[in-house]
C-alpha cells in the first residue's frame, strides 16, 4: 500500500500547522493586543485545510495519515467547492476512526483512480451529487481499519486482549480507562501490523453514531472569513508571472492581428504569446497583463462558426425533434392510448443554454519544465486533467503533478479541463511558472454551457381526468457522448433522460425517447445537474397542465398518481403541509408544487409567488421537503437546499446564454444576471429522517425549483410558462 502513497515532502509549514493544531485546535476567539489598539480581534485557528502533501508513518489506506507527532491527516478524495464535503467526508472517517473533527486536518487528494475513484461515477470526479453516496461505506471502512490497527497496537503494547480496549478522541484506552496511548504514540507500531481487508471490518451500527447525523461545524469556515483560504487563483510561486488571456470570440477562430509592441510598451508586461485560438499577455502582475491585453487590440478571423446564431439552433432542434429518437422507456402502448383518450394535451417546452458563472473565474497555474509539469488549479476532475496534460505534453503521468485547491464555485464547470489545457499551451512559451486568469467576460463567453433542450410532450386523459398516455421526446446535446462515452448504452445518454424516463407517477402507457442534437459552434457540458434540471421542469409543469385539464387541485392530482410511491408521497405531503397549501392568498399570488426523484433523493417544493401588474415575478417563499435517506450533516443539507434552490431560481428568472454571429451575447454580471440579496426568498428545509440508503443533495433543489415557481405563476395568473427563463412581459395583467 505504501508505494501508492506519495512520499514527496512534509513541509515545515505543514508541521507548523500541526503543532498549532495540537496546542489548541478549534476556534479561538479572544481579545488580544495589537499594537496600541485594545480592540477585540479575531484570533484565527490554524487552517485545517493543508496544501502540501502529507506522508504518514501510519498510512493503512489512501485516506489516513498519522504521524508520531499526533497529527491526523485525512485525505479528501472529493474536492471542496462549497458543498461541504471536506466536513461531511471527514465526519464519515472520523466517526469510525474515533477522532474529533477538531483533531484532524484535511488535504486534497492527488489524482489516483485506484485510491480515490468515485464509485457512483467511475472516475475520481466530484459531481453528480454523489460524494456521500460514493464514500458512505469506503470512508467508514477506512476509518474502522485504522481504528482496529491502532487498538491492536495498543493491546499488544499492554499485552491485553484488543477487545478490552476502546478508542476515543484520537487515543486508545485500556479496560479500566486508566491507561491510554495517543494515535501518534501508536502510529509506528500500528504501521507494522498487517492491514485487514476493508470489507472484513465491523462497522458501527448507525444507532451508535455520535458524529454522523449531527450539525458538526464546517472545517473550512474559519479560513474563509478572514482571507486565508487559498483557491487556485491565489497560487503564488517564486518567479511566477501572470497572464491575461483573450480567446477567439467565435469557437474555431484565430487571432488575425496583435499589436505586440503596444502591449510590450506597458510597464510590467514581459511577453505576448499568440497561440492562434488565444492571445495571452504575460506580466509581473495582472493589472499590467490586462492593460497590455487591451493595448494588443487583438482582431480575429472568425473561422467556420461565424454564422452561428440562436434562432438557427432552435430551428434545428424543432426539426430534429420531429423524428423519433432512441427509446428510453416504453411501457404499454402510448400511441394507441393517446388516440383513444377522452382528452389530449400537447406541449413544447424549451430551456436555454446556461453559463456557470462561478465566482472564481477560470484560472490555472502551470510550470512546464523539460522533465515535469506542475499544475495548480481547483478541479473537480483531477485524473481527467492529468490525462489531458499527459496527452498535451507527452510527459509520463508520474511527472504531471496536479496540485488541487479549494474551488471558488464549481457547479460542473470545473469538471472540464479546458482551462488547464489552454494554460499549458500558453506555458509552453513561458520560461518559469505562469498563472493564467480569465476575465469575467472570457469566463462567461467561453464557458461550456448547459445545453439548450427542446422537448415535445403529449398526454391523454380518461373521462375522469386520469392520465392514460404520456409521451416525452427530449432533443438536445449529449454531454456523456463527448465526456465519457462508456456511459452511452445502446445509443442512449442516461443523463439526458434522467427524471424524464422514470417520472415518479403511475403512468400506464408511457413512451420517452431522446434525439441527440449537437449545436454547431457551441461547447456544452455539465451544470448543477443537467438532465434533471431540465426534465423535472418539463415533467412537473406538464403534470400541472394535466391537473388543470382534469379540473383538479395540483396537489390532490399528484397524490392520486403516487399511491405506489410512498417516499415521493411523503415529501410531497410534507412540503404542502408546511407551506399551508390551500390557504387563501391575495390576487395575483399563487402557490405551485413540484416533486422529483433524482440523485438518489426524493424532493418536493412549494413556491409562493406574487406577479405584479407589469409581469414582474417576486418569489416570496420556498418550502422544501427532502428525503435523502441516512444523512451526514443536516446543517450542510439545509445550506445546500438554500443555495441549490437559489441557483435554479436564478436560472429560471434570469439565465440565458444566446449566440449571434458565433459570439455569446452576454459578457458580465450586468448581462448574465445573478440573483442578489434583495431578490432572495426565504427557503425552508424539512428533512425526513429514515434509514434508507444515502441520496444526493447538491443538485436536487436546483432541479426542482423552476417548476414549483412556474406552477405558482400559473396559479397566480393563469399563464403557463413553457420556456425558461421566465418571460415577465408575457405575464402582464390584462386588466
Amino acid at each position: 500500500m505504501d508505494r501508492l502513497i506519495p512520499t514527496n515532502r512534509v513541509e515545515a509549514e505543514a508541521a507548523m500547522s500541526r503543532r498549532t493544531l495540537l496546542q489548541g485546535a478549534g476556534l479561538l476567539l479572544g481579545f488580544a493586543l495589537t499594537g496600541a489598539s485594545t480592540e477585540p480581534v479575531f484570533a484565527a485557528p490554524a487552517s485545517q485545510v493543508v496544501e502540501n502533501e502529507i506522508t504518514g508513518t501510519f498510512a493503512p489506506n489512501g485516506f489516513i495519515r498519522i504521524n508520531p507527532t499526533g497529527a491526523v491527516t485525512l485525505i479528501m478524495p472529493m474536492v471542496e467547492m462549497g458543498q461541504g464535503v471536506y466536513t461531511s467526508l471527514a465526519m464519515l472517517l472520523a466517526e469510525e476512526l474515533e477522532v474529533r473533527l477538531d483533531q484532524i486536518q484535511v488535504q486534497h487528494a492527488p489524482p489516483n483512480e485506484a485510491l480515490y475513484v468515485n464509485s457512483v461515477i467511475g472516475i475520481q470526479n466530484t459531481g453528480g451529487s454523489s460524494s456521500v453516496r460514493a464514500f458512505w461505506t469506503p470512508l467508514r471502512q477506512a476509518g474502522a481499519v485504522g481504528r482496529n490497527l491502532l487498538i491492536a497496537a495498543a493491546a499488544k503494547r499492554w499485552n491485553v486482549d484488543p477487545a478490552t480496549c476502546r478508542a476515543r478522541n484520537g487515543a486508545v484506552f485500556d479496560a479500566t480507562g486508566a491507561k491510554h496511548l495517543s494515535y501518534g504514540e501508536l502510529a509506528e507500531a500500528a504501521a507494522k501490523l498487517p492491514v485487514p481487508p476493508a470489507a472484513n471490518v465491523k462497522l458501527k451500527d448507525p444507532r451508535d453514531f455520535t458524529l454522523i447525523g449531527t450539525r458538526a461545524k464546517r472545517i473550512d469556515s474559519s479560513i474563509k472569513v478572514d482571507g486565508r483560504a487559498l483557491y487556485g487563483i491565489d497560487v503564488r510561486l517564486p518567479g511566477m508571472k501572470v497572464a491575461a488571456v483573450a480567446i477567439s470570440p467565435v469557437l474555431g477562430g484565430s487571432a488575425k492581428t496583435v499589436n505586440e509592441s503596444a502591449a510590450l510598451a506597458v510597464k510590467g508586461v514581459r511577453q505576448v504569446v499568440n497561440i492562434g485560438e488565444a492571445v495571452a499577455v504575460v506580466a509581473d502582475h495582472m493589472g499590467a497583463a490586462r492593460k497590455g491585453l487591451e493595448a494588443a487590440a487583438v482582431t480575429w478571423d472568425d473561422g467556420p462558426n461565424a454564422k452561428v446564431n440562436n434562432a438557427d439552433i432552435v430551428k434545428q432542434l424543432e426539426e430534429e425533434s420531429k423524428k423519433p429518437g432512441v427509446v428510453a422507456r416504453n411501457d404499454g402502448d402510448a400511441g394507441k392510448a393517446l388516440a383513444a383518450a377522452a382528452q389530449r394535451l400537447d406541449a413544447v417546452y424549451q430551456v436555454p443554454f446556461l453559463a456557470h458563472a462561478t465566482m472564481e473565474p477560470m484560472n490555472c497555474t502551470v510550470h512546464l519544465q523539460k522533465d515535469r509539469c506542475d499544475i495548480w488549479v481547483g478541479t473537480q476532475a483531477p485524473t481527467i486533467t492529468q490525462a489531458l496534460v499527459v496527452e498535451l505534453t507527452g510527459l509520463p503521468k508520474a511527472v504531471i503533478k496536479i496540485h488541487n485547491h479549494l474551488i471558488g464555485g464549481g457547479f460542473g464547470r470545473r469538471l472540464e479541463a479546458d482551462g488547464t489545457v489552454l494554460a499549458v499551451k500558453i506555458a509552453r512559451h513561458v520560461d518559469g511558472p505562469v498563472k493564467v486568469i480569465w476575465s469575467r467576460e472570457e469566463d462567461i463567453q467561453h464557458d461550456m454551457y448547459r445545453p439548450y433542450y427542446l422537448d415535445r410532450l403529449s398526454a391523454g386523459l380518461d373521462a375522469a381526468g386520469k392520465p392514460v398516455a404520456w409521451t416525452d421526446r427530449i432533443a438536445g446535446s449529449s454531454i456523456f457522448a463527448r465526456y465519457y462515452p462508456p456511459y452511452i448504452k445502446d445509443g442512449l445518454d442516461p443523463d439526458a433522460v434522467e427524471a424524464a424516463a422514470e417520472p415518479p407517477y403511475a403512468l400506464p402507457n408511457i413512451h420517452v425517447d431522446y434525439v441527440q442534437v449537437e449545436p454547431r459552434g457551441v461547447r456544452t457540458s455539465w451544470w448543477r445537474g443537467v438532465g434533471p434540471t431540465h426534465n423535472v421542469f418539463v415533467v412537473e409543469s406538464f403534470i400541472d397542465e394535466l391537473a388543470h385539464a382534469a379540473k383538479q387541485d395540483p396537489l390532490a392530482y399528484r397524490k392520486g398518481l403516487l399511491g405506489h410511491n410512498p417516499r415521493a408521497l411523503a415529501v410531497l405531503s410534507l412540503a404542502a403541509e408546511k407551506a399551508g397549501w390551500g390557504s387563501p392568498l391575495p390576487a395575483r399570488h399563487g402557490r405551485g408544487i413540484s416533486v422529483q426523484f433524482a440523485y438518489g433523493s426524493y424532493t418536493s417544493q412549494v413556491a409562493e409567488v406574487e406577479v405584479a401588474a407589469d409581469g414582474a415575478v417576486r418569489v416570496k417563499r420556498i418550502v422544501c421537503a427532502i428525503d435523502c435517506g441516512m444523512y451526514v450533516n443536516p446543517d450542510t443539507i439545509e445550506a445546500q437546499v438554500q443555495g441549490g434552490t437559489l441557483f435554479g431560481l436564478t436560472a429560471a428568472l434570469h439565465g440565458s446564454i444566446t449566440f449571434k454571429d458565433g459570439r455569446v451575447e452576454q459578457s458580465n454580471f450586468d448581462t448574465y444576471l445573478p440573483m442578489r440579496i434583495d431578490e432572495v426568498p426565504v427557503v425552508e428545509t424539512h428533512l425526513i429522517k429514515n434509514a434508507e440508503a444515502p441520496g444526493g443533495v447538491g443538485e436536487a433543489p436546483t432541479a426542482i425549483v423552476s417548476a414549483a415557481v412556474t406552477n405558482a405563476i400559473f396559479a397566480a395568473t393563469g399563464r403557463r410558462v413553457r420556456s425558461l427563463p421566465i418571460d415577465t412581459a408575457s405575464l402582464k395583467s390584462s386588466s
Binding site: 462549497g82 469556515s221 482571507g227
Partner: protein, 151 residues
C-alpha cells in the same frame, strides 16, 4: 511610478502605473490574496476593501486615486469591532460555502454596521446587493449581519 500605500496600518511602496487597479496591487504585487477578483467591472463586490472606512470596489479603484487613504482589507477587518463581530457571526451561523465571495461580503457588511449599527432588512438589501454569491448564501448572510448587530 512609485506609490506609498497605507494598508492595514502599514506602509507599502509599490512601483506600478497609476491606473493599475488597487485589486492587483494587493493581490499580485503585495501578495494579499484575501481580496478576490470576480468581475473587473464593480458588478460583483468580491474585491471590496475599505478606503478610510468606506467600502470601495478595488477592481475599479486605480492606485493613484488612493493617495493617503487608509486601506483596510479582509486580512485586517477582524481588528475592528464590526469585523470581529461579523466574522464570529459568520462562523456561528455557518454562512460560507465555497467562500470565494465572502471576503467582499464581510467587507460590505462591516461598512454597513459602522454606519448603521442596527440595520433593518432594507438597510441590508441596500448595502449588500452589490455583492454576488453564486452559492446562494444570502439567507445566512442576512441572518449573520443581524446576529452580529444584535437585532
Amino acid at each position: 511610478m512609485a506609490f506609498t500605500l497605507k494598508i492595514n496600518g502599514s506602509s507599502h511602496e509599490v512601483d506600478v502605473d497609476g491606473d493599475i487597479p488597487l485589486l492587483w496591487v494587493l493581490r499580485d504585487v503585495l501578495g494579499m490574496t484575501g481580496t478576490k477578483f470576480g468581475c473587473g467591472q464593480a458588478l460583483c463586490g468580491a474585491c471590496t476593501v475599505h478606503v478610510d472606512g468606506q467600502p470601495v470596489r478595488s477592481c475599479q479603484t486605480s492606485v493613484d486615486s488612493v493617495g493617503d487613504g487608509a486601506v483596510t482589507t479582509i486580512e485586517a477587518i477582524g481588528r475592528t469591532p464590526q469585523g470581529a463581530a461579523l466574522q464570529k457571526a459568520w462562523l456561528d451561523l455557518e454562512v460560507v460555502q465555497c467562500g470565494y465571495c465572502q471576503s467582499g461580503q464581510i467587507m460590505s457588511a462591516a461598512a454597513l454596521l459602522k454606519d448603521t449599527p442596527k440595520p433593518g432588512d432594507a438597510d441590508i438589501d441596500s448595502a449588500m446587493s452589490g455583492n454576488v454569491c453564486r452559492c446562494g448564501t444570502y439567507q445566512r448572510i442576512r441572518a449573520a449581519i443581524k446576529h452580529a448587530a444584535g437585532v
